[in-house]
Symmetry: C2
Subunit: 400 residues, 2 copies
Amino acid sequence: METSVLKFGGTSVGDFDKIKEIANELKSRVSRGEKLIVVVSAMGGTTDELLLNANSLSSTPKEDHVALLLTTGEQQTISYLSIILDDLGIRTKAMTGYQAGIKTFGGHMKSRIADIDQKHLEAALDNHDVVVIAGFQGINDEMEITTLGRGGSDTTAVAIAARCNMPCEIYTDVDGVYATDPRVYEEAGRIYEITYDEMMEMSALGAGVLETRCIEIAKNHSIPLYLGRTLSDEKGTWIMEDTQVLERKAVTGVALDSDIIHVTLYEPERESTLIFDLFEKFEAHDINIDMISQVVNSEGFQLSFTVKGNESYRLDEIFEAVERLHPEMVMDVRTNHSKVSIIGSGMRDMTGVASRAFMALQQAGIPFYQTTTSEISISYVVDGEKDRQAVEVLAKKFNL
Amino acid sequence: METSVLKFGGTSVGDFDKIKEIANELKSRVSRGEKLIVVVSAMGGTTDELLLNANSLSSTPKEDHVALLLTTGEQQTISYLSIILDDLGIRTKAMTGYQAGIKTFGGHMKSRIADIDQKHLEAALDNHDVVVIAGFQGINDEMEITTLGRGGSDTTAVAIAARCNMPCEIYTDVDGVYATDPRVYEEAGRIYEITYDEMMEMSALGAGVLETRCIEIAKNHSIPLYLGRTLSDEKGTWIMEDTQVLERKAVTGVALDSDIIHVTLYEPERESTLIFDLFEKFEAHDINIDMISQVVNSEGFQLSFTVKGNESYRLDEIFEAVERLHPEMVMDVRTNHSKVSIIGSGMRDMTGVASRAFMALQQAGIPFYQTTTSEISISYVVDGEKDRQAVEVLAKKFNL
């Protein structure tokens, strides 16, 4: 019997009418002979309301107790959806995160899934048509209830699919993955098939439809992953293994990461501990740096990297401290820049992608200040005010 | 270290301000060197709201999913109380029913506690000052979340106290146990000490402050049980073993059960299956009958009993069916009667209680139609319109 994992987010289960529509859709799939595992989030707004309550009771509410509070949101959704499915005559079992065997580790509110003990889940699937599972939650070794942090319900769904070896369908309020953000370049085409690697690069480079960790789990277990709009007839995007993708292109997508800070440091002393001192401070402050490139020559060395624009305040502090240690250092910090990336697993086999992209940007008069490449992506730092134009030029160049 | 179990009901935790007041009271007890296990209900109104939602989604919502839904109410209360206690600097651990090891059996929404696996609870108590536990809920052998039905949170508290051998304090919106309902007889005195047996009779006979099962658990494990008003300086009632009660009276209380139906049946055929046929139907309809007395003589036999007034509709149906089987039967059904009972463990040793009560009622001109006695109680069926007078006469007679 065909069994899939489906996930519906907070907007999709925003009110009882929407939950009823989803229940009817599930019923029609069950009547076609499918069995379904359905992962749901808290009803839209619930989590925010509970967080507001917690913060009204303490300016620093403890994470274990907040996690315990928030998980009631998903528990209510699984109850409501199950009551409706029962009423439609569907044999339904509801399960909280710990009942479904989702074991976590790490901080109470940003836990990661350590393992899934699927025996209860599989037993439930034997006797029911639909098993409804609370997303975003699990239980740790101390038997404490935890939440999975950002994109948590997606992770729940993909991890269960991986453990039970089933395809996973993520339903949300977008039609699928686009070659580039339609808000940036409105002619952007939808991608119907994309490889795990491409999708991971897209996510990491700023196309934030799915958390990278979800795609990683799907990739590691070869689980086909679908992303599409809830209750829509529009075809969404299947994320799958390289070999399964039918139509291979050199470039599949263009990602834009706006508001980044581009930093270049010049240090005449080649033996300087500058890089060590700097990176140590970034790590201590938990600041991510990206696009690191370094050149050493007779003049000393040059280091470039990018940082998210919202780190600007903490950055000043770090730079001041490092400048006191390395007074000869010359620093060039440019805010309001953007990172534009082209992604495509076809780059591995097809030559000339980089040079075609360089040419396109140059011909359009868009200067770029740094370039880094990975196996299946190339990223450019451009001026913030030229980023949309850069996306458009690249999308057109590669027929996206 | 002194450790007690405290229970606060839904009205006591009706809003965040009330929860904060309770947290402050707990803090002052902790600062006096106590450790506390605190059992709480859902915030007043929450359970009704969730039930309303469930019933709006299905006219017959399945009990397993409704139980799952309702338990989110208590889980939210334990989160909120714990966040506040944390903020007051109290080392606090929150636990749902299953985390506290409360194992149940029976229907999902009227489960009974099978056992408490207290190892997590005791470990939590080692490292915390207050352990906050969600009342009214547990987990069954199938790892399904269940609710305990009426008086469920009280049962949670008493069962934990029994398992951990601690006194149990139930806080509610009454000042304690009264010798008789102050709404019926306003001069009724509060009882500061009462035996388990007396309290059980009082509960069973209609003085519904505590469910009988709670008192039974406390009795079986010799756990002192306190009943009093939340955050009040008024002294409440301690329910305890016979030997610990200081001031023994012949009669401790008068209970009133209004709106009962008094039935008497005459059957000339002594070998008739009437009683069998009748009781079988009562059982099939799950109707409780009470105060059963039977007399057999040369004229045949006579059977009297009482039934709750709200069963009137179903009663007619049963009587019609039985009359068809036993056409010689003569039936006398009197609605709008009341049962008035006097309770006191002193009756065991003191003689003449029954005759003093008979006399008092007779002198006051209050006819009674049936009398039944237990070891520590005597019950009378009187006319509904004379029940308050009967309570008053008996309360005065025994100086309550």
